[in-house]
């Protein structure tokens, strides 16, 4: 399976046509990690969005005045996205992402290239932004159900 075909199985890109998937594939950069590696750290500036290709990561909220111990809030696996908040709101990373499987592979997408694609190809931009909103909604629903 080539990269555009694999991207079609990621919810973030659901609704894109073949040409649009190829355009997204052209700005993806593959990165590999080992167990324990930190991909992003809470509080740091970030300009990349990540799609998990393979492996499992944990999303950790570091200690805060009201929450003195680091806390894993969810694990994310194949096909999931992280880093999207800093990508769209330009704020600091909201959590630390650490690899917990033996290995993990992600596709990293740089903000400038991504925004340029979204602005120059309005259908692609609309679909991906809608899907980012849907993904954030899904994560919120998940959090609402934890500890129910």
């Amino acid at each position: 399976m080539n990269l555009p075909e694999i991207l079609s199985q990621v919810e973030l890109f659901e609704g894109l046509n073949r040409d649009e998937l190829e355009n997204i594939a052209s700005i993806c950069k593959e990165q590999s990690f080992r167990s324990g590696d930190v991909v992003t750290r809470q509080g740091e500036t970030g300009d990349q969005l990540f799609v998990i290709w393979d492996g499992l990561v944990e999303v950790v909220h570091e200690e805060a005045p009201h929450d003195p111990a680091p806390r894993t809030v969810v694990n994310l696996g194949q096909g999931q996205v992280f880093g999207e908040m800093a990508l769209v709101d330009y704020g600091p990373r909201s959590a630390t992402i650490r690899v917990i499987s033996d290995r993990a592979t992600v596709q990293a997408i740089q903000r400038d290239a991504f925004m340029e694609l979204c602005e120059s190809q309005t259908h692609l931009g609309y679909v991906v932004m809608r899907n980012i909103a849907a993904d954030l909604s899904f994560k919120l629903r998940h959090q609402h159900l934890v500890g129910r």
Binding site: S8, Q9, E11, E14, G15, L56, E58, V59, R71, T72, V73, V74, N75, L76, G77, Q78, G79, Q80, I100, S101, A134, S137, F138, K139, R141, H142, L145, V146, R148
Partner: protein
């Protein structure tokens, strides 16, 4: 393209934080699921929101398997 099930796994009791994963098959009640190194049993499967394209969105409640 084949169906993709985006699943929100929540573990009842214990300290496991749960997970969000894509699955190729819809999880079934009674089935065993591995989250990392830990294995759990499916006790509930609910459609979390309507399907879109080839994607279905599920919420699955897990518990530690009965011995």
């Amino acid at each position: 393209m084949t169906a993709v099930y985006k699943v929100s796994y929540v573990v009842r009791g214990g300290t496991h934080p749960g997970a969000i994963l894509n699955e190729e098959k819809r999880p079934q009640v009674g089935q065993r699921v591995k989250l990392g190194a830990q294995e759990f049993e499916v006790v509930e499967v609910v459609d979390l929101m309507p399907a879109r394209g080839d994607f279905s969105f599920l919420h699955v409640t897990l518990q530690s398997p009965k011995k």
